[in-house]
Subunit: 228 residues, 2 copies
DNA sequence: GAATAACGTGACCGCTTAGTCACCATTCTA
DNA sequence: TAGAATGGTGACTAAGCGGTCACGTTATTC
């Protein structure tokens, strides 16, 4: 992990009181967000070091410096904490994918498709760089069995992969991708390759700008796919 | 998971008594191997369903139908059980890589390199098909933090990736791979892509022969890499 | 064939874990 | 400004966990 430590993510509290939540920006609202951010930051450090399934609530609250009862005031359990903490990354990924779909709607040349894919890869790399810890956890756990506290990450991964397949199919339907190669294989293979390379950058196996690495990689794979 | 359920793997007991192990093929030897195979089979089922870190010794021995004290007679802890159970897959992967290196030594044409890589991919796919449960667990956990019971899987993944980079570098040194593309990026991206596709086959997201899918994928990536 | 190491066992031990709770403090609503 | 909802707490509860143990059985060694 690079030495740059980003600020705790701005997460949306999943459980806000119904009757007297206090005004937006009020003391209660601010305290609630701060506490939740502290819990998320503590959980992130521990999940990176040990893996989600091995981290206990006691470890999280000790690292965050809050009482155990507070943990359960803000989240139902560890799974809900995971769902909460990955929201910023999930939002950024969804934004990148939405952007790519929009660009595809108005694309009209095969060369433009390459640019769209490269831009998508760059935006996903930017999302990763904005949330290096979360992305590392995401990449570590995305293929886990879909049970327990890792489930929100697996669900996000499933969603991203479905979107990638949908995007690739739309490209073919627009006549921008002419290949006999299986669309799902190419979409999932590209994700698998990009994920591994991103993971290498985030764990300092590689140096340099990951944006460059993953956009070049996407071109390489697209060229290979087109040659079929 | 396909309905075909392979027999329990033949694993080598990690802890054999020193003084009176009994003769090879004797009652004790046979019982020891059978018990260990039962523990491995039970663990595999549970690891697939819940993930390694969430499975307890009590669950494993209950599923295997052996007493808890027996568990500790045959393995030190869950980590050693994981190391033991993945040996057949590890051996098969090492054999495939060794084969590819040997083939590379006597290769003399760029087209032969494609054949070597395809053959390697096919052999790794065969290894996966011979051990579908183990491979699925491997693919689920290979990027986990390198602590705790998942460590043997992470170590195997690191070894396989180093070997892939070494193989790619040897190909370039033999003049069989001419590209300006970063060798490590191409090696790890190919593994990342192949792993995702293999995972799709093993979890029945894809039908058809995974050998065909991954060998074609390797060609696609190699073609893309060479075009740089 | 007697002796010895290895095996099989499941209760047990000490500790850990998720989640709750009752009480006091704080914030905000009417 | 009084009252009510919300927050903060850490001891507590009930259950679970890793790992051990002492004893009887079995297999093998000399």
């Amino acid at each position: 992990m690079s030495s740059r430590k980003p600020p705790p993510p701005r997460v949306e509290p999943p459980n806000v009181p119904r009757e007297r939540p206090g005004p937006a920006g009020g003391r209660r609202d601010a305290n609630r967000r701060r506490r939740l951010a502290e819990l998320c930051a503590a959980a992130e450090e521990l999940f990176l070091a040990e893996g989600i399934a091995a981290v206990t609530v006691d470890q999280i609250v000790a690292r965050a410096g809050v009482a155990k009862g507070s943990f359960y005031r803000y989240v139902r359990d560890t799974e809900e904490l995971v769902a909460t903490m990955i929201q910023p990354l999930a939002d950024a990924m969804r934004a990148a994918i939405t952007c790519a779909h929009a660009a595809l709607e108005s694309a009209d040349a095969a060369a433009t498709l390459t640019a769209i894919y490269r831009d998508l890869a760059a935006q996903l790399a930017d999302a990763a760089l904005a949330h290096p810890g979360l992305t590392t956890i995401y990449l570590q756990e995305a293929r886990a069995p879909r049970v327990g506290p890792r489930r929100p990450i697996c669900a996000l991964s499933d969603e991203v992969e479905r979107a990638a397949v949908t995007l690739t199919r739309a490209a073919r339907d627009h006549g921008l991708l002419r290949t006999d190669y299986d669309l799902r294989v190419s979409a999932l293979a590209a994700i698998g390759a990009a994920d591994r390379i991103l993971f290498a950058h985030l764990s300092d196996e590689f140096s340099g700008d990951p944006r460059d690495t993953v956009t070049d990689l996407v071109s390489v794979i697209l060229d290979g796919v087109r040659s079929r």
